[in-house]
Structures are given as structure tokens and as C-alpha cells.
């Protein structure tokens, strides 16, 4: 067993080797300083052991130059590590503009995923190799954390908000998904697998594994999130007010995603995903200038997954 002692996790994303390089550098530095201190202690411990003849005259009391050295040198090393690590961090937290968006919903104790092609899965996420993939996530209950150890990235998944994790998988295979934020009784069973496939295998999987996938509802079929959103948009009667013409009861939605919106009180906000979500579930929170607070709140009536679909539909209206 011991000869199988693992030391490093699998590297399966474009970021993994960068994180590993920093990690190994830091172990090198830790070893260097720990051994330096250890060696100094050992030398002094032997040389100045009580009962051993040694020159003990005029012991130094303090030495400002020495103090300066061991303030400045660690500080300089720290700043290098800080810069290095921050550069990696910005890569981790800023998804590339061309990233394909997948959705994840965490709930006690499972992960629900949806691909941009509309494929729904539970605790399994199939993705193609070599593509920038952004997983936008929210929680239906407590805090969770979507952790992909093989990709060296994670993010907390919060109720009432969207966060995201992105990666570009470099190696086909099956890797762990863990929930890394304690979420109650079955926390350690809130695990899954991310299955990285060659692009052509992924295309094949999309067509063959269409039916019977766990968690798939009959109504949802294989609609893309935007298609599902369009269906829901009609189903909930949204188009009656948001018809896109002037004089309508609700503002037009085409092109709103990512744009700046002026509110009744003159404040300007960016219409990001969190804004859109809030405007659906708790519409009276922010009223667009020139409109009345007449929209009903949909809180408790639309699931988190349906809200994600609606947002996908709104985004698709350029």
C-alpha cells in the first residue's frame, strides 16, 4: 500500500500546472527555511552545550543590521509569492470571454448540472476537452462549494446569488467533484464526477445519451437553457408586459443583459445575472426608471434552474 502513496493530484486543466509550480516552489522555500533554522539550532546546540568549552565572551545583545536582513529578505520573498499567486488567482476568477456557460445548482445533498445544449445531469458533468467552460452556480438552500481538485479550482456556491468556476480541461478522463463547504448531514456524499471527453466523443454523447439521464424531466426534453427560458417566458405570461414596445407595462428585455440600467431613484446599476435574478424573484427591489412596481414577485414560484433558463433566454435576445 505504502508504495502507492500519492503525493500530487492529477493535472487536468490549463491552470493545474501553474498552481502546482507555485505549490512546489513554496515547499522548496519552506524546506529551505526550516532546514536553515534546524541547522542553526543544531550547530548552536552542540557548540554551546553547557559543559562544553567554547568562546562565550561578549555575546551580542541586538544587531540592527541583522534584524533588517531578516525583516527585508522575508518581506521581499513574500512580495514575489504574492505577485505570482495573484496572477494565478486572476486567471482562476476571470473566465475568458468565449467561455461556454454551463449551469449548476447545489442542494442538500446533490449537484444538478445543465449543459448549454440542454443536457441535464445529477452529480455528473460531461464536458469536452480543450474548451473554455464556465459553470455558473447557485444554491437552493445552504452554502456549498463546487470543487474540482484536478482542475485546481473551486468556488463557494451561495443561495440567492450566482458565482462561477471556469476551467479548460486538458486530459480526457473522470475526475472528482467535491462539495468543499460544509453543508450538513450528508456533506461528504455531495460528491460527483466530471467526465472530460474528446470533443467528438462529447458530440456523440450529446446525441446518444439523450433520454433517461438521471434528473431529466419529460417537459424539459433536450431544450437548450434559452429554449427552456422562452417556453417559461410564455408560460408565466411575461410577454404581456415585457413585449418590447414603447408604452408597455414592463421594460423591453432585448440587450438588457450586461447593460447599464437607470432606476427610479436615479441610481445606475449593471444588469448582470444577479440583477436579472433579483428582478424576477423580487421585482420590487429595483424599479427601472419610468415604470411602476406592478410586476408580481416570483419568489417561491420559479425554481433556481428555471430562473437560470429565463436569464439564458434574456441574454439570447440581443
Amino acid at each position: 500500500m505504502l508504495w502507492e502513496l500519492p503525493l500530487m493530484p492529477q493535472q487536468a486543466s490549463t491552470i493545474a500546472h501553474k498552481v502546482d509550480a507555485l505549490y512546489l516552489f513554496l515547499w522548496g522555500m519552506t524546506a529551505f527555511f526550516t532546514l536553515l533554522i534546524f541547522a542553526l539550532i543544531l550547530v548552536f546546540a552542540v557548540k554551546y552545550k553547557r559543559g562544553k568549552v567554547a568562546d562565550r565572551s561578549n555575546p551580542p545583545d541586538t544587531d540592527h543590521k541583522l534584524e533588517a536582513v531578516w525583516i527585508v529578505v522575508p518581506l521581499a520573498i513574500s512580495l514575489v509569492i504574492f505577485g505570482w499567486a495573484t496572477a494565478i488567482f486572476f486567471e482562476q476568477v476571470r473566465p475568458p470571454a468565449d467561455a461556454v456557460e454551463y449551469f449548476a445548482t447545489g442542494k442538500q445533498w446533490m449537484w444538478k448540472f445543465q449543459s448549454p445544449e440542454g443536457k441535464r445531469e445529477v452529480n455528473e458533468l460531461h464536458v469536452p476537452k480543450g474548451r473554455n467552460i464556465k459553470v455558473t452556480a447557485t444554491s437552493e438552500d445552504v452554502l456549498h462549494d463546487l470543487f474540482f481538485p484536478a482542475f485546481r479550482t473551486k468556488a463557494d456556491v451561495l443561495p440567492g446569488r450566482y458565482t462561477n468556476v471556469w476551467f479548460n480541461a486538458t486530459k480526457a478522463g473522470t475526475y472528482h467533484i467535491f462539495c468543499a463547504e460544509y453543508c450538513g448531514m450528508q456533506h461528504s456524499l455531495m460528491i460527483g464526477k466530471v467526465i472530460v471527453m474528446e470533443p467528438q466523443d462529447y458530440e456523440r454523447w450529446l446525441t446518444t445519451a439523450s433520454s433517461g439521464t438521471a434528473g431529466q424531466t419529460a417537459a424539459a426534453g433536450d431544450e437548450t437553457p434559452a429554449q427552456a427560458g422562452e417556453r417559461l417566458f410564455t408560460q408565466h405570461g411575461c410577454q404581456t408586459c415585457h413585449q418590447g414596445s414603447s408604452g408597455a407595462l414592463g421594460p423591453a428585455l432585448a440587450g438588457v443583459s450586461g447593460a447599464e440600467v437607470e432606476l427610479q431613484n436615479g441610481e445606475k446599476v449593471k444588469a448582470d445575472d444577479d440583477y436579472l435574478r433579483e428582478s424576477i424573484l423580487n421585482s420590487s427591489a429595483k424599479i427601472v426608471k419610468g415604470y411602476q412596481a406592478v410586476m408580481p414577485n416570483f419568489k417561491g414560484q420559479i425554481s433556481e434552474e428555471d430562473v437560470m433558463s429565463l436569464i439564458a433566454y434574456i441574454k439570447a435576445q440581443k
Binding site: L5, L22, F44, Y48, W70, F82, F89, V93, G160, G184
Partner: protein, 566 residues
């Protein structure tokens, strides 16, 4: 002052224990026997007796926390479940709460600080003896409430109480536990208040700030953190209760709250609390290194001011617990760089302690073994802290076993090790008797080996991806978990040994006299155990702290060797 001072300054360097047996007699009236009966203990105002009350209660809680740790390690021996999930979650929560709030935070300040701070500055007692007793009662009442929650069913939120799980979803005794922690917080505040005022107002003539033992400096810095930080956790617990009990929306987004707000409030106290746990330990180490290398601590003022720097910067780094929590990436950068900066004063201390050994006359009794172990383990604990401060790396390692390993190197490898070193060093002062050196060294060795075997594999485990708070895990993590559990068994034996030999020494240990180590400092100038008001006459301080002379001590030792006395 007559009897006390004549003894100390002329004592030749001796080695504890046993050698001096028969030479010294136990003083007739000490703080231990000045009054008799259980009531005289429960109503005492004597800081030394209160320290003993704390010592006993803290040891009991440490043992309980250890039992829960054992349950965790047994569960993790195999990938499958041994305990059910519910029980495991309650076990790690109990372990965390007991060890943090009932052991690590009070351990060194309330036991060693209470006993030593007034003596070290030449005072009769703390400024407010009754407030000091009150702090022990608050601690016991809070501890009893928290323990009662565990007895009737436990808590399953983790010691961090993250919302909205703790306010809305958990079916366990969150409120009762929180109430206990709230009350224990006031025990911390009153202790901190007492220490700050005592240090300012009750120093003996000649005991200037630049002559304070470094232990006092570190207690002073710690007390400032206790005073300024603890009210914030009290407020946080009140807000948590308001949401859980009355449904006031503060943290739960369904009620209009913000779950990340809780994390900011919680860590605004709980990160400085880490320094409440480590600063006093650093103070102990400064005393031990000086005493056993018979040298004034190198760079005294740098070591003293680094304690204050840690106390101040420690308040500005809480956000490094939130790098993946949904906090702004720009806030993450600020907290990251501040976290690197807070590491510098710790590095300064390590280098100064190491340099103190240079040209010393070093002996290796049990407390010194602990002190040297501390330097090595704290170096690893501190340096692995940089891994966690490094943003891009922390994204991967946060919430994994890497974090568990890192903070146990600091909390156990450093704080507990320093606490045990301090207990051994001042044991003759507290009890008048020495402990058996052989058993002391053996237990120190077992603790050192057991500790490293328990926690080093967890660094690797965490990097491989094993999340914390998992009671079942993928089979490839088993080998490292087995090593860790094996280490924990050795560690448990090491921790149990001192209980037996220290209790044994109360009756059979050699009588040590006032200054068995030949150490400097006012605490060694009074009898062992000291009288109720510490000194027969107020001492007058005329020399710097740690006025050791390694060369002269060594010469005296050599001369004694040649005369065949040893």
C-alpha cells in the same frame, strides 16, 4: 525582599530536579495552604489560586476535546462510515468548539498568565482580584452551558457556525452552544481588562516597560486583542440568535440577509483569536529559550514590538478566510498582501530566538525540548500559512485537509507545545516540587513524533483534494489517513503521560526551592510555592530583563564539575 533576593542572585546554575533534594524545605505558609477548605478556593481572590482553578478545568476540557479528536481519527481510518454522518458531524464540531473556546483561548493567559503576570512585574495580585474570580465563573458557566448542549444532543454546524446552515437548517442545539460561547467571551474580556490595567498600573519600582519580561509583553498584546476583538464575536452570536430564534433576516438570503456577512463578522474576531492563541505561546518560548541558554533574548525590543505588530495587523487580515466565499477579488488582493505582512513579525521572532542560542550555555531539560520543538513546528506552521495567503494556491487548498494541517501546526505544534513547556518550567514554582525529568523528556519526544506523524500527511492529503469535514472519502486517500491516525495514537499517549507524572510529583517530586533552574525574573526571587501576596516586601528592580551571564554561569558550572560535585 531579604530572604527572596539573597537566594536568587547567589544561586549557582543547577539542574532540576532531584539534585537539590534534601537541600530545600517546603515553605511553611504558601498560597496553597494559607487558607483551607473548598470554600477558600471557590471564593478566592488570589490570582495563583484562580490559575490553579483554570488549570484543572482547562485540563478536563482538553481531555474531552481529545476524546472527540479520537472519534474523528477512528472514523477516518477507513474510507467508509464507522460512525453515522450525524454523529461524525457532531464529533468534529464538539472537538473544534471545546479546543478553541475552552482550551486554546484561555489556556496560556488564564493559567500561566494569571499565575505569573503579577509576580513577574512584582505586584501583589492583579488589579481586580474579584473580577478575576468572576472571569473563572463566567468561563465555567459558559463551558457548562456549551457542554450541556453537547450532552443533550450536540451541535452539527462546525465550530465556524456558517450561515444560513446554522440559523435556518441545522436541527441541533445551536442556540445553547452559542449562549455558552457568548458568556465565555466575557471571561476573555475581563481577563484581558485585568491584564492591561495591571501591566500599566502595578509594576514594581524599577520595572520599566523596557524591562518587562517578554512573556508580559506578549500577554499585554494578547489582552488588547481580547478586549477589542471579543465584543465582535459576542455581537455576531447575538445576531445569529436573532435570526435563528426570532427569524430576523440578517444572514439568510431568503429573509433578505447576506450569508457572507456572517463570515466577515465571524472572522473579524476569529482570526485575531488565532493570535490570542499564539501570542502567549510566543511569550512562553522567549522565557524558556533565555532561561535554558542563559542568555538575554537576542533583539529584545524587536521581539517585544513584534508582538504588538502581530496584534495590530492581526485585525486586518480576516478576509483571507473568504478568498472563495464570494468576496470581491480586489478585496482578496488587499487581504492577501496584509496576510503576507503579518507573517513578518513572526519570522523576526523565530530568527531572534535561534540567534539567542549563539554563545549561550545551553542545557536540555524538558521545557527546553519543548521550546526547540516549538521553533521547528512553528516555522512549518507559519511558512505553510504563506501557502494559504497566496491567492491562486489558496483557491485549491482552502477547505481541504491542507488547512487542517496548517492550523494544527500552529495551534497544537506551537500553542499546546508552548503551554506544556511552560507548565513544566513553572511547575516547581506552582507546586514547590519537581517532575521526573526522564518521563518529561519521553513524553515530549512522543508528542513531537506523534504530532508530526498525525499532521504532516494531512498537508499532502489536502493538496490531493480531500475536503475537510468528510466522514467518508475516496479510497485513494486511505494510506495517508492511516498514517495520520497512527500518529494520533502516539500523540494521545504523549499527552496522557504528564497527567500521571505531574500528579505523582505533587506528593513524591523533589522539593526544588525558589529557583531550581537558576533563572532570572522576579518569579524566581520568591519562594516556591509563593506566599499569598507573592513577595514579603515589594521588590525593587535594578537590572534589565534576562540579565544572564552565560560565560560566568558556564565557568561556575565547569568549576563545580571539577570539584566532583556533579
Amino acid at each position: 525582599m531579604e530572604t527572596a533576593s539573597t537566594i536568587s542572585t547567589t544561586t549557582a546554575p543547577t539542574t532540576m530536579p532531584g539534585a537539590a533534594n534534601g537541600v530545600f524545605e517546603m515553605p511553611k505558609v504558601t498560597y496553597l495552604n494559607a487558607q483551607e477548605g473548598i470554600k477558600s478556593w471557590l471564593l478566592t481572590g488570589d490570582h495563583k489560586r484562580i490559575a490553579i482553578l483554570y488549570l484543572i478545568s482547562i485540563s478536563v476540557f482538553f481531555a474531552l476535546g481529545g476524546v472527540f479528536a479520537s472519534l474523528i481519527r477512528i472514523e477516518l481510518l477507513t474510507p467508509g462510515p464507522e460512525l453515522d454522518a450525524e454523529m461524525y458531524n457532531r464529533a468534529f464540531t464538539a472537538h473544534g468548539i471545546i479546543m478553541v473556546f475552552m482550551f486554546l483561548i484561555p489556556a496560556i493567559p488564564a493559567v500561566l498568565g494569571n499565575f505569573l503576570l503579577p509576580i513577574m512585574i512584582g505586584a501583589r495580585d492583579l488589579a481586580f482580584p474579584k473580577v478575576n474570580l468572576l472571569s473563572w465563573y463566567l468561563y465555567i458557566i459558559g463551558g457548562a452551558l456549551t457542554m450541556s448542549a453537547m450532552v443533550i444532543g450536540g451541535v452539527d454546524t462546525g465550530w465556524t457556525f456558517y450561515t444560513p446552515y446554522s440559523t435556518t437548517y441545522s436541527q441541533s442545539y445551536v442556540f445553547l452552544t452559542g449562549l455558552g460561547i457568548f458568556i465565555m467571551g466575557f471571561s476573555s474580556i475581563t481577563t484581558g481588562l485585568n491584564f492591561v490595567i495591571t501591566t500599566h498600573k502595578m509594576r514594581a519600582p524599577g520595572m520599566t516597560w523596557s524591562r518587562l519580561p517578554l512573556f508580559v509583553w506578549s500577554q499585554y498584546a494578547t489582552s488588547l486583542v481580547m478586549l477589542l476583538g471579543t465584543p465582535v464575536i459576542a455581537i455576531t452570536v447575538v445576531l445569529l440568535a436573532a435570526e435563528r430564534v426570532f427569524g430576523v433576516g440578517i444572514f439568510n438570503p431568503n429573509l433578505g440577509g447576506d450569508p457572507v456577512l456572517f463570515q466577515h463578522l465571524f472572522w473579524f474576531y476569529s482570526h485575531p483569536a488565532v493570535y490570542i492563541m499564539i501570542l502567549p505561546a510566543m511569550g512562553v518560548i522567549s522565557e524558556l529559550i533565555a532561561a535554558f541558554s542563559r542568555r538575554r533574548v537576542f533583539g529584545y525590543s524587536f521581539v517585544a514590538f513584534s508582538s504588538l505588530a502581530i496584534a495590530i495587523f492581526g485585525f486586518l487580515v480576516w478576509g483571507h478566510h473568504l478568498f472563495v466565499s464570494g468576496q470581491s477579488a480586489y478585496a482578496g488582493i488587499i487581504f492577501s498582501i496584509l496576510s503576507f505582512i503579518v507573517a513578518i513579525p513572526s519570522a523576526v521572532k523565530v530568527f531572534n530566538w535561534t540567534t539567542t542560542l549563539y554563545k549561550g550555555s545551553i542545557s536540555y531539560e524538558t521545557p527546553m525540548l519543548y521550546a526547540l520543538a516549538f521553533i521547528g513546528l512553528f516555522a512549518i506552521g507559519g511558512l505553510t500559512g504563506l501557502f494559504c495567503a497566496a491567492l491562486g494556491l489558496d483557491v485549491h487548498i482552502t477547505d481541504t485537509y491542507f488547512i487542517i494541517a496548517h492550523f494544527h501546526y500552529v495551534m497544537v505544534g506551537s500553542t499546546v507545545i508552548a503551554y506544556l513547556g511552560g507548565i513544566h518550567y513553572w511547575w516547581p514554582k506552582m507546586t514547590g516540587r519537581g517532575y521526573p525529568e526522564f518521563w518529561g523528556k519521553l513524553s515530549a519526544l512522543l508528542i513531537y513524533v506523534g504530532f508530526n506523524l498525525t499532521f504532516f500527511p494531512q498537508f499532502i492529503l489536502g493538496y490531493l483534494g480531500m475536503p475537510r469535514r468528510y466522514h467518508v472519502y475516496p479510497p485513494e486517500y486511505q494510506v495517508l489517513n492511516i498514517l495520520s491516525t497512527a500518529g494520533a495514537s502516539v500523540l494521545a499517549v504523549g499527552f496522557m503521560m504528564p497527567v500521571f507524572y505531574l500528579l505523582w510529583s505533587l506528593k513524591y517530586g523533589p522539593i526544588t526551592g525558589p529557583n531550581p533552574w537558576g533563572a532570572k525574573g522576579l518569579e524566581w526571587e520568591t519562594a516556591s510555592p509563593p506566599p499569598t501576596f507573592n513577595f514579603d516586601a515589594t521588590p525593587i528592580v535594578t537590572e534589565e530583563a534576562y540579565a544572564y551571564d552565560a560565560e560566568a554561569d558556564e565557568a561556575a558550572y565547569q568549576a563545580a564539575l571539577q570539584q566532583g560535585k556533579r
